[in-house]
Symmetry: C2
């Protein structure tokens, strides 16, 4: 994984390798931090751990904090993202056990580790660190909307947790492999943990949302690409504000729409049907035109993990024909993904 970052913000240095903590979740979609770290920085992941009632697994060996410490782990990372980003009370005894075993704690939740008195006390007692990566930098400016040099690509979703981060990482890797100067720009907890830097867009105060996106992808050389991880969805009744601020501030030249053909309703909110890909393209272009008159949709990224290869290719062919742009699953290398990359770069 040749992803470079040059965000310029100082963060507490992380302490890999990690033990991934799965909490008490039973829904794999909420473990995207753990899955993302397993998939993109496997060399930093020693194993997994969780409450006894957790039924989700990353496939990594399950082990206690003491066992992980013995295998070299230096921190426990909270690898789940529940609704609201809260640290559950039932997790606290397990997190204390990790501190006692000599691990730092790293979290990307909205709630801060250091706001939990028992964790703060135990970290002090055992000389361990509590690191919250979802803390935005101070003094984010108000967005100006001024055009910046360099090229920008933003992944855009029909929903949350639908492939925006994986697509951005895969495209950034492909751009880099083609010799292009490329930065992956992380906008969420998992991306930040993978890349070692970025902007936690959903934790920024709303007035500064677009400004945060502007400093995330600063003025750059004309041939340079920022590949920016999308957040939320413009159609999401809770998170659309994040998506619009990121879109305006990113001023992307290229968008790639990320979609899961199996999903019919918003994740965790069945009162809302998923928007169509065509509607998502149309609305994103309409809104994005405000800060970049040249914005265009270069293609579609589909999650086809539920399909055999031939069925996946057929699905991609159909979407490409219907929408008039390349469609690919970035987890499947091949001519479809190459066509998507070409479309982004043309």
């Amino acid at each position: 994984m040749n992803v470079s970052t040059s965000s310029g913000w100082e963060r507490a240095p992380l302490s890999p390798p990690y033990l991934l903590f799965l909490g008490d979740i039973t829904e794999p979609a909420f473990a995207k931090t753990a899955f993302g770290m397993r998939d993109w920085i496997p060399e930093c992941c020693v194993g997994e751990w969780g409450c006894p009632e957790s039924t989700v697994s990353t496939g990594l060996p399950r082990m206690t904090p003491s066992q992980a410490r013995a295998q070299g782990a230096r921190a426990l990372v909270i690898g789940v993202a529940n609704v609201g980003g809260l640290i559950a009370e039932r997790w606290v005894p397990l997190l204390i056990e990790a501190l006692e075993a000599g691990l730092d704690l790293i979290s990307g939740m909205h709630a801060k580790l250091s706001d939990v008195p028992q964790l703060k006390a135990a970290a002090g007692t055992h000389g361990r660190r509590l690191i919250d990566v979802r803390t935005p930098p101070k003094n984010i400016p108000i967005a100006t909307g001024a055009r910046r040099r360099g090229k920008r690509l933003l992944t855009v979703g029909t929903d949350c947790a639908i492939g925006k981060k994986y697509t951005a990482l895969a495209l950034a890797r492909a751009f880099t492999q083609r010799g292009l100067a490329t930065d992956f720009r992380a906008t969420g907890q998992t991306g930040i943990l993978i890349a070692g830097g970025g902007m936690p867009m959903d934790a920024v105060v709303a007035d500064f949302e677009a400004g945060a996106a502007e400093i995330l992808s600063p003025d750059a050389a004309p041939g340079h690409w920022d590949v920016i991880e999308g957040q939320g969805s413009l159609f999401h009744p809770a998170y659309a504000a994040v998506s619009l601020g990121l879109l305006h501030g990113s001023q992307p030249d290229v968008i790639v729409i990320c979609h899961d053909p199996q999903r019919t309703h918003l994740l965790g909110n069945t009162h809302f049907s998923l928007p169509s890909i065509a509607d998502t393209i149309d609305l994103t272009i309409r809104l994005g035109l405000r800060t970049n008159a040249a914005i265009r949709c270069a293609g579609i990224s589909l999650n086809t993990s539920h399909l055999e290869a031939e069925a996946a290719h057929e699905l991609l062919r159909r979407h490409s024909a219907d929408l008039g742009v390349p469609a690919a699953d970035p987890m499947r290398a091949g001519p479809e993904f190459d066509a998507l990359v070409e479309s982004c770069l043309k």
Copy 2:
């Protein structure tokens, strides 16, 4: 002004009457807090004060903090809103003079009074309070998008500082005068200072933006109206995130578009032309449909303060004919405003 609030959030009690502080501004548009308080709660405004270089006046008598204290003032309110919401260094000696004179300080800026060490020290020395009204409540929930009972009206602007608050206050007053159970829901510093409560939408963390709007206008009796002060503009490169979160969370039945026919470009950002009213209606309806399938535009609110009465009526007539909905200046009572109110309520 018969505006009631029932927000339910506990705030530090304010301490009227006030001395309005104008800082060092020379652009009247940045004094909207001072103007709003003068216009809607004149009984609470003793006078104005500012740096010598400030050229803006509310028309209230200019006086020092000592003079204001002698006339009964109990607090100095920072009545300006500069870009970024910062407390300028050159203001600090004057703010300390107010504390020395026996006044509390009240601010709606993003920056917190209590974060300025000299102010904190002086407030301690003189036994005065520092009150920041732009501090959102704790534990705002993630929005659900679930439909709530009661009727909601949201004012929507083609730009910032273009009449959304005045229009909402005027409509709330008109609804109340017609005997309808009505709450004005403040979403910005000035509205909160006028109403004594509300939600500082631009200071909420982006992930919770729509959730904040949901708790601002809770489930209500079927005939009850919440008249919600709009924020920013969906076309503003810095603030559109605030506007979209507020729109989704407010789930308005009715929108009223606020516009200033003299303004050709965004306030303070001449690189961006103002959107047309028709585009603003269309985009707001398109986005608002996501949380309320019955959303409709009831009319237009135009600032005609630069025109004589006959020219204003002609401008309103033309806008109404062009757009097919009533157009009124809420600062001019008469049949046009009555038609706008009727259109909202029908």
